[in-house]
């Protein structure tokens, strides 16, 4: 599965109960769409660390990296490349 598809699937399965609503796009902010909160971010971090064997540092916990499917894909790609 492509990285974007896998991340989108995790977000929709975990935070949107498997349902994409009309008009959801990979660039949409999870916070603005109300689909993520503090505890959901903890889940997201756990998923990224386990699935991609990367370790997130405190400074990684910013919206640019984590608040959209595109942001997540960009972040994961950059971390995988730097390995």
């Amino acid at each position: 599965m492509l990285l974007h598809d896998e991340l989108r699937k995790f977000v929709t399965d975990s935070f949107m109960f498997g349902e994409l609503y009309d008009g959801f796009s990979d660039g949409d902010s999870f916070l603005e769409q109300g689909i993520i909160d503090s505890t959901a971010v903890l889940e997201l971090i756990a998923f990224l660390e386990e699935r991609y064997a990367i370790k997130l540092q405190d400074r990684d916990l910013i919206p640019d990296n984590l608040d959209s499917v595109n942001g997540l894909a960009r972040f994961v790609e950059s971390r995988l490349q730097s390995h």
């Binding site: 603005e32 916990l61 608040d67």
Partner: protein, 527 residues
């Protein structure tokens, strides 16, 4: 004095000072004042009259800030509603308080479009971010909020004041043990009194910069905005604490001096390497809304030795009750302190008499911060507001059990009812159970709070299904998430064969709580 004067006075004395930083924009006091005046003019032109209720249904934003002040300037009563509220409950609140106006945004307007119940009292809807093309279910006047805020045809000066300080300023809905939310009636005097006492003990100054990540629909968040303007300070407004490093950066970048949190936030903060950061400007952290674990206090004190930590306690019905002076936090970290300035607190026993030191009893609050009652609920009001020492006076019986030590410091013992405290917010088990009972296939449901390191208490739903029905935990959570505010959605679902019952046939929740093995870890993983 009236609440909107906080902004008016600050704008008159420091018009060019930064009042608000939000979503990358900075607003000076004079800008907020003129936007609020224009929106007040628009509300009045749209039919809002003195004493009318106007609901704000917005994420933390400049528009949310301006709306509260504009509603007050128009002589009306603001009713802040959590932006994750779903259609049925929004309709309930709009109808319960007979709101004539609603201020929302384009995204949230969809909730009203889904409204099947109808809102006959509502005639004006102000929409931020543009008006969509779809039609509302019932005919309402729609106003483009974003355009109105800067419309030169609307007056940039405040409308003539019509209210006095014993008029209502706000109705804040809170979870009731009956399952239906209750509107707490707060006058201008109530809010000004509470804001004065709190800014007094926090020793707030005009150079304070307060970072607020709490929703403005939650009174703890709302007061950060009101108090920042009262002292002529600066408010940094964020939508959430979800991305903690962003908040760490903001604390330093904006030279934040005051940071209000709930224990859920301290739990998340303490997962970061705080020792790697210094916060030279940070003067104080406040915590309220749920028991502040002494372990959090101890660790924060070690990591931030120069930051004053205020452990506090309160309830919407009087805003704040007590605060522990920071010089006491290492001596009695388990206490929530003493009554705040200009307020009297005492503990009564079962007979209603003042209890002696060390005795557990109900906490009673006396002061001009105490609410006028619950909107349209005289019986529930009488249960909370009872005759006080002076003729005709009412004092607040909090429903919370406390004991007081010899020096007058308060210690929280428990609640008299079964309200759950999660993420610092009150949740009525009944409200969640009603949603579960309405789910096809569910025979019985019971909802309890279980201890959780991050949330304080997590919501656990126990459900008995019809024999021929199979449901997963995810389906049950999904059903709830469509009908309840996010913080009310259960984290855990367990399916029960049979519930323990009391002699009167009710579900025995104490037994359930004792028997239940508390799952911990990632919510939603329990099937």
């Amino acid at each position: 004095m009236q609440v909107e004067s906080f902004l008016e006075l600050a704008s008159a004395s420091s018009p060019k000072k930064t009042a608000l930083v939000c979503e990358g924009f900075r607003f000076m006091y004079e800008e907020l004042e003129s936007k609020a005046n224009r929106l007040a003019g628009s509300l009045i032109a749209g039919g809002v009259e003195r004493g009318d209720r106007v609901v704000t249904y917005l994420e933390n934003s400049m528009e949310a800030v301006v709306s509260v002040l504009a509603i007050l300037k128009a002589g009306a009563v603001f009713v802040p509603v959590n932006p994750t509220t779903k259609a049925d409950k929004l309709s309930y609140i709009l109808n319960d308080c007979r709101s004539t106006g609603l201020i929302t945004d384009r995204t949230r307007l969809g909730t009203l479009l889904n409204d099947r119940a109808g809102t006959p009292h509502l005639h004006g809807v102000w929409v931020a971010d543009g008006i969509p093309h779809q039609k509302l279910a019932t005919a309402k006047h729609l106003f483009d909020l974003t355009a109105e805020l800067d419309d030169d045809n609307l007056p940039a000066v405040p409308p003539a004041k019509k209210c006095i300080d014993i008029d209502l300023a706000a109705l804040i809905y809170t979870s009731g043990s009956t399952g239906r939310p209750k509107g707490v009636m707060l006058t201008h005097l109530n809010i000004v009194s509470a804001a004065t006492s709190i800014t007094n003990y926090l020793e707030n100054r005009p150079d304070d910069i307060i970072l607020n990540v709490l929703p403005l629909s939650f009174d703890y968040g709302l007061y950060q905005m009101l108090m920042a303007f009262k002292i002529g300070g600066t408010l940094i407004l964020e939508r959430s604490f979800a991305y903690p490093y962003r908040i760490i950066e903001l604390l330093n970048h904006e030279h934040v001096t005051g940071f209000p949190i709930v224990p859920t936030i301290s739990a998340l903060l303490l997962q970061l390497d705080l020792a790697a950061h210094q916060f030279p400007a940070l003067r104080y952290i406040t915590s309220t809304a749920a028991t502040f674990p002494t372990d959090h206090i101890r660790r924060l004190r070690l990591l931030l030795p120069n930051v004053k930590i205020f452990s506090m306690y309160g309830l919407t019905e009087c805003k704040r009750v007590s605060y522990l002076p920071p010089d006491q936090i290492d001596i009695r970290p388990g206490s929530v302190g003493r009554g705040m300035p200009n307020e009297e607190v005492y503990i009564v026993d079962d007979t209603g008499r003042k209890a002696s030191y060390g005795t557990v009893g109900e906490l009673v609050v006396r002061g001009s911060n105490v609410m006028k009652g619950y909107w349209d609920l005289p019986e529930e009001t009488d249960r909370m507001l009872k005759p006080g020492p002076l003729a005709g006076e009412k004092v607040l019986h909090t429903g919370d059990l406390f004991r007081m030590d010899q020096e007058g410091y308060l210690y929280f013992v428990g609640r008299k009812d079964d309200i759950i405290k999660t993420r610092g917010q009150k949740v009525s088990p009944r409200e969640v159970e009603e949603v579960l009972h309405a789910m096809p296939g569910v025979l019985e449901a019971a909802v309890i709070g279980v201890p959780d390191e991050v949330l304080g208490e997590a919501i656990k739903a126990m459900v008995r299904l019809r024999a021929d029905v199979r449901l997963t935990a995810a389906q049950v959570i999904h059903w709830c998430s469509q009908r309840l505010e996010n913080f009310m959605v259960p984290s855990f679902v367990e399916f029960e064969g049979e519930f323990p019952k009391t002699s009167t046939g009710k579900i025995n929740k104490r037994k359930l709580a004792r028997a239940g093995v508390t799952p911990s870890g990632i919510p939603m993983s329990s099937e």
